[in-house]
Amino acid sequence: MSNETLINKDGLRIDGRKLHELRPTKIEVGVLSNADGSAYIEQGKNKILAGIYGPKEVHPKHRERPDRAILRCRYHMAPFSVDERKSPAPSRREIEISKVIREALEPAVFLEYYPRTAIDLFIEVLQAHGGTRCASLTVASLALADGGIPMRDLTAACASGKVDGKLVLDLNDIEDKKGEADVPLAYMPNLDVITLLQMDGQLTIEEFTEAINLSLEGCKQLHVLQKEALKSKYISVREGVKE
């Protein structure tokens, strides 16, 4: 596709990572004081903020469900999040991603516990550099947990794909655009359930199976980081008291 290579002769990728290595990830929980729950993630150059409000009364009233809560999700990219200014209006792509994120999180949340209510989830991409739908899912799941919403498991998400004929984990923007395939996947590690699986590009059946396994490994690593981030606030209070 292009003359420059995405993987050099030492087997390292353009940002210096090994083939099966995640981008450096930093997660923080409880960053917004006005939201009921919130979280922030930096995964490579991605910077994403998520906040949840609720459960609360449903407006407009006709969207209310008598048997369960509804989860409403808005994935939005800030106009300054990409190189070329993005129109702040929701694009076709953002509407689709909002939908897949909502559907990937719904199996984790006990929506049936709080009928006739709504949980509003807002995801704001401040800086985008490939794989934002997965990073958004990872951070949204933490925002829900921080809001005290009962959940079956934390949902972690990670993509894998094919670049220069090799399978790699956690594609960045350049690899995503110039590579051959991209497989985003969301996973609940404790329950062993996949809640999102998409593919863009072409892979053989063998490559596809391997890509899924690679994504699953990435999700498991992210899940460890998620739990650490969620617990760290309380652990630091406890340690502060002991001293």
């Binding site: 609360k56 921080d146 809001g147 005290g148 009962p150 498991d153 404790n190 329950l191 209070v237 002991k242």
Partner: protein, 229 residues
């Protein structure tokens, strides 16, 4: 039949707590003989019951609970009260009136108006219908003085303490009158604003450090130190 955590250890949603013949208590669920946590909190084991004390939660109404709420709307038949829960509460006009209530004759805003703070008790609630309140009992009704602090509802039992030890300490050390709403709102009224501020500070400390041990003694020390000034 193993358990995978110690008592009072921090757990996250989805953590496997116990396997085998255990009951799933609060903030847990059971799937194929395995008990998992549903919230961030502290795990507890009582006999065969496993439960999690949530560190983050919202208030779900329960019958007989005393709650503190604000009037958000006045309707023909009564008031809508915000009780800090996913469901708004209703207070019927007939609950307050001495005689039978007639919308033509009685002006509801002269009794409670939008913005008024009430101490009320939940008389009925299930998930299909909004909670119904009453103020027809002693110590219930409109709040006229004091300050309100909001804390996370699941930490109310910690604020009360074993046999009320924590709240008794705060009351006696600050001389404030304290009313605890189960919905995470606490009314503090004292002789001076300074007394109230001191009590509020202690309450917020309890909320912040609810998952640590030896808290009652630390709060008592803190209050003695500050009030002796």
């Amino acid at each position: 039949m193993p358990t995978f955590f110690e008592r009072r250890q921090l757990v996250a949603p989805g953590d496997l707590l116990a396997e085998g013949n255990y009951f799933a208590g609060e903030n847990t669920f059971k799937n194929e003989e395995k008990v998992y946590s549903t919230s961030i909190g502290l795990v507890e084991f009582q006999e065969r019951r496993v439960f999690v004390v949530a560190l983050k939660a919202f208030y779900v109404p329960r019958v007989e609970d005393i709650v503190i709420g604000g009037v958000t709307d006045v309707t023909i038949g009564g008031w809508i009260v915000d009780i800090n829960s996913p469901y708004p509460a209703l207070l019927r006009a007939s609950d307050v009136m001495e005689r039978s209530y007639r919308p033509q004759r009685n002006n509801l805003t002269s009794i409670f108006d939008i913005g008024d703070i009430l101490i009320a008790k939940i008389v009925s609630y299930d998930r299909t219908r909004d909670p119904l309140l009453t103020v027809r009992e002693s110590d219930l009704g409109k709040v006229t003085r004091g300050q309100i602090v909001g804390i996370i509802p699941s930490k109310i039992p910690r604020l009360i303490g074993k046999k009320g030890s924590m709240i008794t300490t705060i009351k006696s050390e600050t001389g404030c009158h304290i009313v605890i709403g189960q919905n995470g709102r606490v009314l503090v009224s004292g002789k001076t604003v300074e007394d109230e501020q001191l009590a509020i500070m202690a309450i917020q400390k309890v909320e912040e450090e609810s998952h640590t041990s030896g808290l009652t003694n630390r709060v008592a020390e803190l209050l003695k130190e500050r009030s002796g000034r």
